[in-house]
């Protein structure tokens, strides 16, 4: 048989296609079973009722109190510092005005003496010493 005679024709190929088409595609039972189980599972998943939204847990008193204190601290700290400063200024002025504290009394005190003795460099800053 020469080469061109040995070549398959279009008709030969079509007959081979036909032979393959005639072969039944056998599906293994195990595969059918796996697919059927997938189908049932997916169907069951969808038919399950939507879970109700979980109620919010009640807020616990201690954490909320702690949070409130924490918030208040942010406000209280500067207010407290300001009040203390103003109180100190007012009390100092009042004490001076009422003769409770005078410059002479301050310079004659043990504190001024000890400071001047131990830190001579400070003497220049102490008026009248």
């Amino acid at each position: 048989m020469t080469e061109p005679e040995n070549r398959l024709t279009e008709t030969d190929l079509d007959r081979m296609f036909q032979a393959v088409r005639a072969e039944p595609d056998v599906v293994p039972l195990a595969l059918m079973d796996r697919i059927a189980r997938d189908a049932s599972r997916e169907q069951a998943l969808r038919s399950e009722p939507e879970p109700l939204p979980r109620p919010k847990p009640r807020s616990w008193r201690v954490p909320s109190l702690s949070a409130a204190v924490h918030r208040a601290m942010h406000l209280l700290l500067p207010v407290g510092l300001t009040a203390s400063t103003l109180m100190g200024v007012w009390f100092g002025g009042w004490a001076m005005d009422n003769g409770l504290v005078s410059t002479d009394a301050l310079l004659g005190s043990d504190l001024a003496f000890n400071l001047a003795y131990q830190l001579p460099a400070l003497t220049d800053y102490l008026v009248g010493y």
Partner: protein, 194 residues
Amino acid sequence: MKMAFDQTVSDPDAVLLARYAGGDRHASAELVQRLTPRILGLARRLLQDGAEAEDVTQEAMLRLWRIAPDWDPGRARVSTWLYRVASNLCIDRQRRKKPAELAEDWEVADPTPDVTHVMQGRTRVAALEDALAHLPLRQRQAVVLRHLDGLANPEIAEIMGISVEAVESLSARGKRTLTTLLSGRKEELGFADD
């Protein structure tokens, strides 16, 4: 909406899928009977591996079950959609398995001894399936869908995501390659006396 309704009427698989989505347990069994053999056949011919073909078939069917509640009948026929999913899964697996496959425009100049000496005594079916395994994947896909699954070129174009002309070209090249691959086996295949 009329188009979608018409599509559903002309596509019994879409009707079954809607019934399945509605909770009908028998609908899935019918769909499995109708669609699984075709999808498995396609996967076997594209992958040339029975176990992998079964995995692909199961995966494609699983995707069908999952899309059922959202199925839009106007989109495509169920079988077309399923062929496309299965084809893409096969291509993905094939590419992972054989990264350096033959180019799409590959043509056989001379049949190799491996191909010409394929198993003596095998039937035409086995010979054709062996030859199919040597086709580039896209040619194989076009030939299988056109000549073995008997789909029309426009449907194949939709499945493969290419033009009808490209399908025709791939299919024709695939057939030419098959003829070349099977050359020299005319007598063995029982065509010598024709």
